[in-house]
Every structure is written in C-alpha cells, then in structure tokens.
Amino acid sequence: MRRPWLLGLLLALVTAGIVALVAGSETSGTGAENVGESGPERVATPASAERGRERRCEATQSNPGGTNNYIPDAPERDSLGSGFVITGLVRSADGCRPLKDIRVQVWLATETGGEQDNRASVRTDADGRYRIETAPTIPQFGEPNIHVGYDDGRYRDVFIRRVVDLDDARAVVGLTLARRG
C-alpha cells in the first residue's frame, strides 16, 4: 500500500456520507408520525372549536407515500374486520369547526389482505368524528402503516401515511381540511 493515508481519507469520507444518509432519513419515512394508541379508547374532542370565527387551525398536509396503493372511491363499509380501530376528528382549518358528513377513505394491510384489499369509505358523524374497525394491522413492509385520504372536492385533497406499533389497538388520525382556492 503506497499511500495508506489516501485510502484512509477516502474511507473516512465514504463513512461520513453513509452516516449522513442514514441519519438524514426519518425512522418511518418522511412525515409518517406514529399515531398508534393502546388502552381504553378516548373520544377526540374539538378543542374550543366553537369559539371565534377568526380562529384558524393548521391544515393537515399530505406526506410522501400517502397515495401508495390508493384506489379512488373506496366502497362505503361499516367495518373491515375486528381487532383494530381507525378513528379521528375531521375539522375545518377556518374556525377549527368539526365537519359532519365528510367522506374519509382509509386503507391498510391487515391479516386479511394487502392495502388494495382493505379499503373503505367512512363518513363523519355530527361531531365530526369518523370511526371504522378493521382486522389487526400487519407489518407488510417492515412496519404497520395506515393511509387516510380525502379527495371529494370541497376541500383540498389530503393523503397521509402514518405508522403504528404492532401491539397498538387503534390509530387516531385527525384531519384539518382547508377550503379550495
């Protein structure tokens, strides 16, 4: 080896690059926060939604991977099995008001099939909440993940991908929708 310092420098730079690449990634993918919960189910409350029209909530942003395996117009279904729950509060960015009768689409990989097999449309109730029971999630691609989407036109489209832990009982995914235009 004629120039060992040169080889050492090269490998140190490559190592620094690898460390930067790994450290620069997000554990579950960009923007995929963990929304899993276990224990008794809590009812999401629209925090002081009634107060003041000037109040504004930050709209939920789509995140990368949100549209993975999305098939438009999932059938309206009461459940996708039992053992896991996807629930959340849907509200308007303007005024933070709960939005009733909003169609939310969910899809996920469960013990009964992949993401394209387990999809459903579910509507929010008078309090702006949606809830659907599904079969338990599976880590088809290394981590259980769920998708929630809205693309019915009144508000801006939102497609999000979130993760849960294997032993979680539910995923709580709230959506804050911004008006188009």
Partner: protein, 201 residues
C-alpha cells in the same frame, strides 16, 4: 480432537443458517401472507446467515467457497427485493425513495456495498490495486454490508422481533468480529507461506 472441532463447527454453521430463517418464517406476521412475502422473508433470513458465515470462509485456504457464498448472498438479496416489488411495487419504490424509512435506506446502502464487495472479488486479478489496498476495501465493504444489513433487519418489524433481535445482534457481532479474525488468519498463513516459499491467493 480435530473431529470434535469439525462437528462443533458444523453444528454452529447449521445453527447460523437455520435459526434466523426459522424464526422469521414462523412469525405470526406471515400467517396467511402471500407467497411473495414468504419468499422475501426467507431470502432475507438466509442472506443474514450467508453474510455472517462469509468471514469464516475467508479464513480458509479454499477461497472459492467464500466467492460462491458471496454471490449467493447477493442473489438472495436480489430475490428479497424482487419479491417485495412483486408484493407491492408502490411500497417498494417508496421504500427506496429519498422519503423512505431509515431501515430501507440502510438496506439500499448495504446492497450497493454488497455489489461492490462481490465485484471487487470477481475482478481482483484484473484490477491494478495492490493486495493491501484490495483487502482493506473488501473488508470495509463487508463491514458496511453486515452492519447496515443487520441494522435493517433489527429495525424491520414482524420477522425477527424480541428473541429474533437478540439473535440478529449476536450474528452481526459475530460477522463483524470475523472480518479482522479472517485477516489475521490469512496474514499468519501468508507469513508462514513466505517463510516456506508457498504463496497464498
């Protein structure tokens, strides 16, 4: 005494091959799973074993086995990835994208390093690298493959959780420690060879 050592080494090799893939394939996440996911899991589990055994084979005189197993490990990784693409192309592309999770980033870098290590091995006689430089580069790439490959498996939920994680970390440590041990063994043999006029490939 030599027989006992051979038997013990053989039993350890069988355990290194059988334990990860058995734990991975018997995990509950594969209940009712597609053939592609089962194939991907099996190939990934066997690739872990192949990588851990590689330094052991590099110690010996017959380097051809080391070369063959290196190629086998690379093919297993390609099968692992190919089966994931068959399972869900969208999720596979996302995993490899800049927005993919850390475990996928680790897997991608480990795969590139494995390709580099196998290519270095195949082109050794044609490259104008000195023997020392070649050995350092090959060992470096091997260490990257084992560290990030095992890291990828540890961060992956489903297969090889709990006891499986302990097995993975133990195998990773064994593989990484095996790299300097293989170098030391080959250096000792080379010195003995030089003193007796026999060259070591």
């Amino acid at each position: 005494m030599a027989d006992f050592r051979t038997v013990a080494l053989g039993a350890a090799t069988v355990a290194v091959i059988a334990v990860p893939v058995t734990l991975a394939l018997t995990d509950r996440h594969l209940a009712d799973a597609s053939a592609a996911l089962v194939l991907s899991t099996a190939a990934g589990g066997l690739a872990v074993s192949a990588l851990v055994l590689q330094p052991l084979l590099a110690r010996g005189r017959r380097i051809a086995r080391h070369q063959i197993l290196g190629t086998v490990a690379f093919v297993l990784v390609l099968v692992h990835v190919g089966a994931l693409f068959a399972e869900s192309p969208g999720d596979a592309w996302f995993a490899l994208s800049p927005d993919g999770p850390t475990r996928a980033r680790m897997a991608l870098i480990a795969t590139i390093a494995l390709f580099g290590a196998v290519t270095l091995g195949a082109l050794r006689s044609r490259l104008s690298l000195g023997g020392g430089t070649w050995r350092v580069l090959h060992a470096y790439l091997a260490a990257v493959v084992i560290a990030l490959g095992i890291g990828h498996a540890v961060l992956t939920d489903g297969a090889l959780d709990d006891a499986g994680t302990t097995v993975l970390i133990a195998l990773g440590a064994l593989g990484l420690l095996g790299i300097p041990a293989a170098h030391a063994a080959r250096s000792r043999r080379a010195r003995r060879g030089q003193s007796s006029g026999v060259s070591i490939p």
